[in-house]
């Protein structure tokens, strides 16, 4: 089966309409180049809407001691010093302007008593730093950017999936995809392409991620020959819902802890006091009295241990459950009911209140929540230039979760939304100036287009054999069991074997029905992306023989100094096989090195 295709031409084509994609498209359009936007869902539905807690920016509205240097230091420490230092610096320096800009475009943030943008505490951030709107900050961000996109009259191709990038020997020339509704192919010719496709969470069974998170951008870049980095670092958010089973994995915002919620085991102990990492001892209260004083605003007190970084909190929860101190359904208790008034909880955490009430039949103003880790965010991604966000292929750019580097081994909560804005804008700029350097829209290779289109519809011609949903589910099972939060060599090797046989099965998955709005067919195509991401994640995890940030090895429980000096880089080899290379970290200037390692916060 093959269908005639329509062709569109843009200077800059942005793939993905979450925070990063929208921000990139707005920037490119404002710089005067012809910009197109493609998204798998309807406009305004991207995964960014699920972001809850806020966006981190050193505005210093709540604590005047805050500045970009402290934010940079916190980000580097949170990422266990594996971050691309230049990205972390740019991020910390530019985030405040990006937040103010969003306000100028109509975002309505919660306010301080003196009428400024309010900021809340979050894990790993020394000072209250997250600009927020209750617990629906992502929705505010996406709606504001969506309105801006409409105002700038950017052409949006909704419910359109990109299947492959087009390129010549040395540069990107466009992309091929299909309309979800009609199933018909669509071809884009473009001078530059920005990937803003989000993450890979659907590799796992228990995840906070939506159906769209099938690693499309990671796979598109990989197949086009670009480098991926840091793919072993998957963030398991410590607090996902654990009960009832059908909602397992849905996110419970870190904002609950930011607003004073505490973690307890089944003995009623605040277990987070039990193991405070050395890196954070100077900043963290070791007793409840001091923690309570900090929460009440005492600036001489140290922070609550519940707001240690996500990787650590998740590991502590796993330990409590494993040692028999978990909640009835295999999590721990998150209690805000005994800490804050019902009115306060409903005002600051309305979505959480609603979510538990509707889905779990639990009133969080009266009883504790049951929570446990859930696959949430991939720190790794397309390797990009810190200044322009260009990937290792000319004309290809990436921003947001699909790009790697900023977060190192572990992302701080709130650094994602600011990442989307800071690097979405930079990718838009980078792509636009790259496009301006070219005279004409590049020619695409008709033979290449025909081959890709044919391949896209090939599953319709297969005899009925495997079901794409079953193969996906089997992949999730093996990833959850073998490449989850606690990893060990033989299980990782088992996962690689499983992935190899799942790849064979994926070649046999067939499609029922025609190509019009057919989720079964979409799943066949998405599955290939998931398999690429799963393989990259597992290979990188096998190679890193230490524990660092989101990557924990039971067989190598410590962080090893030498291991912290390189990134894992993955790319496609000559025979189509995945190859891994260790690349030394870019060298950090001395003054930034001193900042990042400063025991006390820089002034």
């Amino acid at each position: 089966m093959s269908l005639p295709y329509e062709t569109h031409e843009y200077d800059v084509l942005v793939i993905g309409a979450g925070g990063a994609g929208l921000r990139a498209a707005v920037e490119a359009a404002e710089s005067g180049v012809k910009t197109g936007l493609v998204c798998k869902s309807l406009l305004g539905k991207a995964h960014t809407v699920m972001a809850e807690g806020g966006m981190a920016a050193a505005l210093a509205n709540v604590d005047t001691r805050d500045n970009w240097k402290v934010h940079f230091r916190d980000t580097m420490r949170g990422g266990k010093f594996l971050n691309n230092w230049r990205m972390a610096q740019i991020h910390a320096q530019e985030a405040p302007d990006r937040v103010r800009e969003l306000e100028n475009w109509g975002a309505v943030f919660d306010r301080t008593p003196d009428g400024k943008i309010l900021q809340r505490n979050f894990g790993g951030h020394k000072y209250p730093r997250l600009a927020h709107v209750g617990d629906r900050t992502g929705l505010e961000m996406i709606r504001t950017l969506q309105d801006r996109t409409v105002e700038k009259k950017i052409n949006v191709h909704m419910e359109c999936t990109i299947y492959r990038l087009l390129k010549t020997d040395h540069a990107i020339t466009g992309a091929v995809g299909y309309w979800r509704e009609s199933g018909r192919p669509i071809v884009f010719r473009a001078k530059a392409v920005v990937l803003a496709t989000g993450g890979i969470g659907r590799c796992f069974r228990v995840t906070s991620n939506s159906w769209e998170y099938t690693g499309d951008g990671h796979a598109l870049a990989y197949l086009a020959g670009a480098d991926l980095i840091d793919m072993e670092f998957m963030q398991f958010h410590p607090t996902g819902m654990v009960w009832p089973p059908s909602v397992r994995g849905i996110l419970v915002t870190e904002g609950v802890r930011g607003e004073g919620g505490v973690l307890k085991n089944n003995k009623g102990e605040r277990f987070m006091f039990k193991s405070i990492p050395d890196l954070y001892k100077a900043d963290t209260a070791d007793n409840e009295a001091e923690a309570d004083r900090w929460l009440a605003g005492d600036k001489t007190a140290r922070r609550v241990p519940e707001l240690l970084t996500r990787d650590h909190v998740a590991r502590c929860i796993v330990r409590e459950v494993k040692e028999g101190r978990g909640s009835p359904h295999g999590g721990v208790f998150l209690d805000i009911a005994s800490r804050r008034s019902a009115d306060y909880i409903k005002k600051k955490l309305p979505s959480m209140y609603h979510q538990f009430k509707e889905l779990g039949g639990i009133d969080i103003t009266k009883e504790p929540m049951e929570v446990g880790p859930t696959a949430h965010y991939i720190m790794g991604g397309v390797r990009v230039d810190a200044e322009t966000q260009m990937a290792t292929i000319p004309g290809l750019f990436a921003a947001g979760e699909v790009a790697g580097g900023l977060h190192g081994a572990n992302r701080l909560g709130g650094n994602s939304l600011s990442d989307l804005l800071v690097f979405g804008r930079r990718a838009g700029l980078g792509a636009s100036s790259y496009a301006k350097g070219m005279k004409d829209i590049p020619q695409t290779d008709d033979g290449q287009v025909e081959r890709i289109v044919k391949e896209m519809y090939e599953p319709f011609d297969r005899p009925s054999a495997e079901n794409a949903f079953t193969v996906t589910s089997d992949l999730q099972t093996t990833m959850e069991a073998n490449v989850g939060i606690a990893r060990v060599q033989n299980e990782l090797e088992k996962a690689l074997q499983d992935i190899a046989s799942l790849k064979e099965r994926a070649k046999k998955v067939s499609v029922v029905g025609d190509c019009r709005y057919n989720p079964g067919w979409h799943q066949v195509l998405d599955l290939n992306n998931l398999l690429i991401c799963a393989e990259a994640l597992t290979m990188a995890a096998l190679s890193r023989k230490e524990s660092r940030g989101g990557h924990m090895r039971i067989d190598f429980p410590d962080s090893v100094g030498e291991e912290g000096k390189w990134n894992n880089v993955l790319r496609q080899g000559g025979e189509g096989q995945m190859v891994l290379e260790k690349q030394p970290l870019p060298e950090m200037p001395t003054e930034l090195h001193a900042l990042a390692h400063d025991e006390k916060a820089p002034q």
Partner: protein, 258 residues
């Protein structure tokens, strides 16, 4: 964990033709209707079309009519759907107001076209320190409107759109959007003429059907539409304002600055 088998009666078909089809699903604890639809996709009908994204009531993609009631599938528990089905199969149909595409998916592009008619945010100049001083009490109302997840359930039940197909009315969602902008303390846009002429606010006769189905609990009629109607009336039907407009041109004196 106990499981129970129930029948889901789902609309299957496209713009030309369609019919209700029965599927048996196994219900586990805490399951929602969207889980049941996914179970059907995975095991019985992989080509069953439905929209969904977040499965947590935040994106507004999975709107449908469950046992005749407009709901988000991800926020409707099977135990409740079994109850409202009163012993019969659970009926799941696409939203009726919008042109049908396939199975549970409808063409909601009219909403995106309506959205484009609204004058965007027009920011006031900043204060001397480069910031706006805005207090929480000034934005409580605008924040209520900005909770909207664009599920279009309000558009789906609005009888002006559903029964009378009067698409000169932009619908409740766009009254809420306009209200969110009009009540933003730093906005200087004027959407009053637009509300009357292009967005057709006069068509709404405040039956509050939209408010009843809003999954975010936005008081659409009382807090958005009625105050906007009052502003339209003040501007267009108040004799003094009308005289002012005649003498000095289009725009009446602005509300006092916050």
């Amino acid at each position: 964990m106990s499981t129970q088998k129930v029948t889901l009666r789902v609309y299957r078909g496209d713009a030309e033709s369609g019919e209700l089809q029965d599927y048996t699903v196994e219900v586990s604890e805490g399951m929602v209707v969207l889980d049941a639809v996914h179970q059907i996709q995975a095991t019985q009908a992989p080509d069953l079309a439905c929209r969904w994204n977040c499965k947590a009531g935040k994106c507004g993609s999975c709107s449908a009519e469950i046992n005749g009631k407009p709901r988000l599938m991800c926020m409707t528990r099977m135990v409740d759907a079994i109850k409202t089905a009163e012993g019969g199969p659970i009926l799941v149909k696409p939203m009726k107001t919008f042109p049908h595409i396939k199975d549970l998916v409808t063409d909601v592009s009219q909403n995106y076209r309506n959205n484009k008619k609204i004058t965007p945010f027009r920011p006031a100049p900043k204060g001397p320190d480069g910031e706006w001083k805005i207090f929480q009490y000034e934005i409580d109302r605008a924040q209520e409107f900005r909770k909207c997840i664009e599920c279009y359930l309000c558009q789906n039940v609005c009888h002006v759109l559903r029964d009378h197909h009067e698409f000169s009315f932009a619908g409740p969602r766009y009254m809420v959007r306009a209200a969110g902008l009009e009540m933003h303390p730093a906005d200087q846009g004027d959407r009053i003429d637009q509300l009357k002429e292009e967005l057709g606010i006069g068509y709404c006769n405040i039956t509050k059907c939209c408010t009843e189905v809003c999954p975010e609990g936005i008081h659409i009629t009382d807090n958005a539409i009625i105050p906007l109607k009052e502003r339209v009336v003040d501007e267009h039907y108040d004799p003094i304002t009308a005289l002012f407009r005649k003498v000095f041109g289009k725009k009446a004196p602005p509300n006092p600055a916050p």
